[in-house]
């Protein structure tokens, strides 16, 4: 068992033990290594000023989905212990022979920075883009910059900088920092300090045993929510369990129209996995958070967090996804809709750990669409979200799944409405009836993201929009 975590930082090996392991990565970088180029603004993964490039450690068996292992993440909500085995590059690592690299030069010549505080984050986000795209379009650039806020430039000079990078002069990180392996990754990690404990076992059995003996422990994976809770002082977990050394957690496959997504599979990886099979989910994931968040957050984490406004939950419910959990007695599966038993309450025993989520690719004769409404379209938490999975036969609905988020304590499957609207002729009267049924069956709250009556109207209108764009005038 190891009692420290090692990783490469700008090509130099770092071994961290004790209290420093429990720091957010950005704090470790800024205050323990004096790499202050990485900035912290929001400490919640919403601004990207803290973006760093990370090549995570993965077991041999994990599917490689990208050409370069380097991906951009928010270092403010990543924990230092999660760097185990990784190769990490910060803005200070970009210079080549002490000269600015091409991405940096492009930002300089195009006035990409004004106050400069967001600039390192944008430089890293553009670096991230060129790690994965050779000839980006303006739309690519915008997508890769979704996770970075700038208050000075209005983004135009930054977009220009991203598109003006001379690819012939650009060296990818994959080339600049070829992966250096950390030894002993087949050994677990156990770190105990006066304040906290960190445990990373290499088998699922050890993990279940630890969880049953330490029910207060928190499982950290992408930490895109836990990292925020930590930074805001809402949580100080005493015991932390990480599953990153357990190879089974990285399972991801599509075979025979069944998609299996392991607990460590990120949303970016999921998006790659299903982009051809479930294009509407791929499109929807484009407006789910930012590249940095999707590179850390996992599908299982998003579902396990059980937020009533989680963006993947309605889609997964409409696809009749199943959750597989593993405990001391072995594994079991259940439909996602039975997994939630109340506000942030899960059907999960003390020793059980979610290992994967499984769903079927919707058949080609199904219409599967997902919607979210938020104050700002991109990188915003939904006010209301909705997922519809319909099959139409003889101008009637023969199969219906309607799932709604943001209008109750959990994501809701509208089974009663589904029954009532099935096998009725589809016409404008049917649309307005369905709209009314949906609106009448939800009792949303008023909060910071919207008034109750606004949410109610949205529920009706999202269905109306879905019907207008997909059902009326078809079949």
């Amino acid at each position: 068992m190891r009692d420290s975590v090692s990783f490469y930082l700008n090509g130099v090996k770092k071994t961290v033990s004790g209290e420093n392991l429990f720091l957010p990565l950005s704090s470790y970088l800024r205050y323990e290594t004096q790499l202050t180029g990485t900035k912290v603004v929001c400490a919640e993964g919403d601004c990207g000023a803290c973006t760093v490039m990370l090549a995570k450690w993965k077991p041999e068996s994990a599917v490689k989905v990208t050409a370069s292992p380097y991906i951009g993440i928010n270092s403010c909500i990543a924990m230092t212990f999660a760097m185990d085995g990784a190769n990490l590059v910060t803005v200070e690592g970009l210079k080549e022979n002490n000269e600015l690299c091409e991405v940096q030069c492009s930002m300089v010549r195009n006035f990409g920075g004004q106050c400069g505080f967001c600039t390192p984050g944008f430089v890293m986000a553009i670096t991230n883009m060129f790690e994965h795209k050779k000839n980006p379009t303006e739309q690519n650039a915008k997508n890769y910059l979704t996770g970075n806020l700038c208050r000075c430039t209005g983004y135009q000079p930054i977009i220009k900088s991203a598109l003006d990078v001379d690819i012939a002069k650009h060296n990818t990180l994959n080339k600049k920092y070829p992966l250096k392996p950390v030894s002993q990754m087949t050994e677990g990690v156990l770190v105990k300090t006066a304040f906290a404990e960190y445990f990373a076992p290499v088998t699922i059995e050890e993990a279940c045993k630890y969880k049953s003996e330490n029910p207060e422990c928190t499982i950290f994976s992408g930490a895109t929510d836990l990292g925020v809770q930590f930074n805001k002082g809402h949580i100080r977990p005493k015991k932390i369990l990480s599953l990153h050394l357990i190879p089974e957690m990285y399972v991801s496959s599509v075979s025979e129209k069944v998609v299996i997504v392991g607990a460590r599979v990120t949303l970016s990886e999921l998006q790659k996995l299903i982009e051809k099979e479930v294009p509407s989910l791929d499109r929807f994931l484009n407006i789910f958070a930012s590249p940095q968040i999707k590179n850390s957050a996992t599908l299982v984490g998003n579902l396990a967090n059980a937020s009533p406004i989680a963006d993947t939950t309605p889609a997964m419910m409409s696809l009749d996804a199943k959750v597989t959990v593993y405990g001391l007695k072995g594994s079991r599966s259940m439909p996602l809709k039975d997994f939630y038993v109340g506000y942030k309450k899960l059907n999960l025993q003390q020793d059980e750990i979610i290992t994967s989520v499984t769903f079927k690719v919707p058949p080609t004769d199904h219409i599967f669409e997902n919607y979210k409404v938020s104050q700002r379209r991109d990188l915003d938490i939904s006010t209301v979200n909705a997922s519809f999975n319909f099959k139409i036969e003889n101008k009637k609905v023969s199969f219906a799944r309607i799932s709604l988020g943001g209008v109750g304590a959990t994501t809701l499957r509208m089974t009663e409405v589904e029954d009532k609207i099935s096998n009725v002729a589809i016409d404008s009267q049917w649309v307005s009836n369905t709209k009314k049924l949906l609106m009448d069956s939800v009792k949303p709250l008023t909060d910071v993201r919207g008034q109750a009556d606004y949410r109610k109207i949205l529920v009706g209108n999202l269905f109306e929009k879905f019907a207008a764009e997909n059902l009326l005038g078809k079949n």
Binding site: L35, V108, F117, C152, Y155, K232, Y454
Partner: protein, 791 residues
């Protein structure tokens, strides 16, 4: 074109933001990037969770026991307890009464941040809650006002209004906006010998920080030095509101005799600091059948929050800009700041300008809807013509407004796109479109005359490089780059050889805030004045050197005292030689000497290579009581046309295209000015669309981080975004013929809001709604738009 101008153009091409190479490398230093010194402690604040309450008791006993806590301090540590820029009404630390949720009560010092967090949770303050006033309406009802009601008036408003063929009466509500500078409020106070303190801070106003810290702690002003290297954004939010944090850090630094670092989290920053003032303006307009405005009556009311801060000055600018770009023969505008239990609102890019202009542009849209005409025709009918005067009596000269209206109408294909939009909307579908073209006429200078002054120190060094120091603070706007350009152009040297030094009160004293878009104008000119003085002296040295034998030059001769010393006349301020390309050239004799060689001669002959320059805008005056004068040195003008689409199902607003045309005089550094324009416009778009401050029913702000407070992201910018500048070489008034650019383009984003209103009007017409003129508040959030579409 002369030789000199050629070089300037060539130089322009390679000029970049002076800090950009550091920005991109991550090595540009901000306050919290400074290395921790031994013994340095961290500081945090405890603030009120309630909007209005008596403080019954404060218990810090448990908090003090937290391991690592060094001290917790309250108002008893402050000598001058109440402060304010205009009125002294705000306690540095509340002790008996809190007047807004977020008001600071205690300062905590600790060895580390974890201890601060723990201690903060253990502080127990007992409150007796009082009824909170949370709206302008309620404040007006209770007559809770800040400052007097001001008035600007001309003509016979009531008489003409009564006879006007058409009249519209209404109210327009505008919400606040958080600055969301990326770097939250930050400072470090270093204790020095003999009771001195050195403060490094992210502030737009180091002189005020120096003075307030001294007053708050009962120090002499000369015991405090305040230094600003750069800010990670300011936008007005660090004009007045950075100072209290310097006071808190200094209290700790002096109590513990340790460096004290206070860096706010974004969450705390947004809850503690003030915003753009919300406004609720009542209006009545009288106009004729052609849409010509005959009379206007405005009553402006702003939400000042709990304390005065700069709100009365902001109101003044709102009143001065409520004509926007239009001549109104009979006009009355009154302005009253209201006091509520929210954070004290403060300066924000545009100051009062946007709030006056929105009021006017809303009226134009409503006149157009009433008469069934295109709003652009109404605008062109009323736009200022040269020689007309404003409602406060300033003559409109150097007026490009009518020309830029017609140029943009043509360049942006306004009329054909209007037809396309009409047919698009008629054909139905899930989207409805709207378009609107709005102008700005933004007055440049502080409306308070005495603030329009600046000083600069220029040190020329023997290797031919220059250090310039001014009172201007760099917050990203490029003021340092512009100042460096002024100095390098003047001395005929490369901009790379001019370094603008950190702003420090020991070099430049009694300075004004870097605000009102005037930073480059005032400080650039002051630096130019200082440089011209050095040039006048060097010119005399050069002419005498040219007249002497060549072998008299150099350290071995003048340095050894073997030849007579060159004497110069300090009263001779004209430069008779040409400084260009690192050389000094005498056009009469065609003699040349390198800049560096001349500096050596000057130094050996005891001629100063340093100078101090002072500048003030000439000819401005404004009487706040009569509301008359010439408050502005000049106006910056521009026009913008925006096209938007609204999703009928969700209310989603998309800005499809924006075209901007601005008069910035002679543009100095295009990359910087372009970035100021796109940045300000997008920031303005945020104000008019997605940025919604949500307070709960008890007046506590709930949108205090970017997860809930939505500034525009890269996807929100106009899908097509065109920015152009007109050539206006006639503007000789200002430094290098340029015009101020910091604030004005923010107000071009009003075109986005009026375009939304225009789209809603199309929807209302299509659905045959009885309400022809849609009511729309600002911001036009998705929620507000959907509720209006569904109404």
């Amino acid at each position: 074109m002369s030789h000199g101008e050629h070089k300037t153009t060539a130089q322009k091409l390679k000029i970049t933001h002076e800090s950009s190479q550091l920005h991109v490398a991550g090595t540009a230093e901000y306050v919290d990037d400074r290395p921790f010194l031994k013994g340095e402690c961290v500081v945090d604040v405890y603030y009120s969770p309630v909007a209005h309450a008596e403080i019954l008791s404060i218990n810090i006993k448990e908090a003090l026991e937290v391991d690592g806590v060094l001290g917790i301090y309250g108002s008893e540590e402050v000598h001058m307890k109440i402060w304010g820029n205009i009125f002294h009404d705000q306690p540095f630390l509340a002790d008996k009464l809190v007047q807004y949720a977020g008001e600071v009560i205690l300062i905590i010092a600790a060895e580390n941040r974890e201890a601060l967090l723990k201690a903060k949770k253990k502080i127990k303050v007992e409150f007796k809650e009082l009824p909170a006033v949370l709206s302008i309406q309620e404040a007006r009802k209770q007559k809770l006002f800040i400052g007097p009601c001001r008035k600007i008036e001309r003509g016979e408003v009531d008489k003409v209004m009564a006879l006007a063929p058409h009249r519209i009466k209404g109210v327009i509500e505008m919400a606040g906006q958080d600055h969301f500078y990326l770097e939250s409020q930050a400072c470090i106070a270093y204790p020095k010998e003999d009771g001195q303190v050195e403060i490094h801070i992210s502030s737009q106003h180091p002189s005020e920080v120096q003075q307030l810290v001294a007053e708050a702690l009962n120090l002499k002003f000369n015991q405090v030095v305040c230094i600003v290297k750069r800010m990670g954004g300011g936008f007005g939010g660090k004009e007045s509101q950075a100072a209290p944090f310097a006071v808190y850090a200094t209290i700790v630094a002096r109590k513990l005799n340790r460096p004290a670092r206070l860096i706010l989290t974004k969450d705390d920053d947004m809850q503690i600091t003030g915003k753009r003032n919300p406004f609720e303006n009542e209006y009545e307009v009288g106009f004729d059948d052609n849409g010509k405005i005959l009379a206007l009556n405005f009553e402006l009311y702003s939400d000042g929050g709990a304390y005065a801060d700069l709100s009365t000055a902001i109101m003044e600018r709102a009143m001065l800009h409520s004509d926007n770009a239009y001549y109104v023969p009979n006009m009355r505008v009154t302005g009253q700041v209201c006091k509520t239990n929210t954070a004290p609102n403060t300066a924000f890019r545009g100051f009062g300008g946007p709030k006056g202009m929105v009021t006017m542009e809303n009226i134009i849209e409503e006149i157009a809807l009433t008469l069934g005409k295109d709003s652009l025709d109404i605008r062109e009918k009323n736009v200022y013509q040269k020689g007309q005067t404003t409602h406060y009596g300033q003559e409109i000269d150097d007026n490009v407004l009518p020309e830029i209206f017609s140029q943009l109408r043509k360049d942006a294909d306004y009329d054909s796109r209007r037809k396309e939009i009409e047919s698009f909307n008629a054909s139905g579908g899930s989207l409805v479109k709207g378009m609107s073209l709005t102008p700005i006429k933004f007055g440049i200078s502080f409306t308070t005359r005495f603030l329009n002054q600046a000083n600069a120190l220029v040190n020329v060094l023997p290797d031919g490089t220059v250090q310039v120091s001014t009172g201007a603070t760099e917050m990203g706007q490029g003021v340092n780059t512009k100042i460096a350009q002024v100095v390098s152009d003047s001395l005929g040297i490369s901009i790379d050889d001019v370094r603008v030094m950190p702003t420090s009160t020991e070099k430049n004293a009694n300075t004004s805030a870097t605000a009102a878009s005037s930073g480059s104008d005032l400080n650039g000119r002051a630096a130019e004045v200082a440089t011209e003085k050095i040039k006048a002296r060097l010119s005399q040295v050069a002419l005498q050197v040219f007249a002497r034998p060549l072998e008299w030059r150099g350290r071995k001769v003048a340095g050894a005292g073997t030849v007579p010393e060159i004497k110069i006349d300090d009263n001779d301020t004209t430069c008779k030689v040409i400084f260009d390309n690192n050389e000094i050239y005498d056009p009469m004799t065609s003699q040349r000497i390198s800049f560096k060689d001349l500096l050596l001669e000057a130094y050996l002959n005891r001629v100063s290579l340093s100078s101090y320059g002072f500048y003030r805008y000439p000819g401005i005056f404004y009487n706040k009581e009569t509301g008359q004068g010439k408050p502005f040195f000049y106006f910056t003008n521009g026009v913008a046309v925006s096209e938007v689409s609204l999703d009928r199902y969700t209310g989603e607003v998309k800005v499809l295209r924006s075209d901007l045309l601005m008069d910035l005089g002679r543009v100095q550094i295009e990359g910087i000015d372009y970035g100021q324009v796109t940045g300000a416009f997008v920031q303005g778009m945020g104000w008019v669309t997605t940025e919604k401050l949500y307070y709960n029913e008890k007046g506590v702000l709930k949108t205090y981080s970017p997860s809930t407070y939505k500034i525009p992201s890269v996807h929100d910018t106009p899908r097509e975004f065109n920015v152009k500048f007109i050539e206006n070489p006639l503007n000789e008034r200002n430094v290098k013929g340029s015009k101020a650019v910091g604030e004005p383009p923010l107000m071009l984003a009003i075109s986005v809001w009026t375009a939304v209103k225009n789209a809603l009007a199309y929807d209302a017409r299509k659905k045959n709604k009885s309400q022809k003129i849609p009511k729309l508040k600002l911001p036009a959030t998705q929620e507000a738009v959907l509720m209006s579409l569904e109404s």
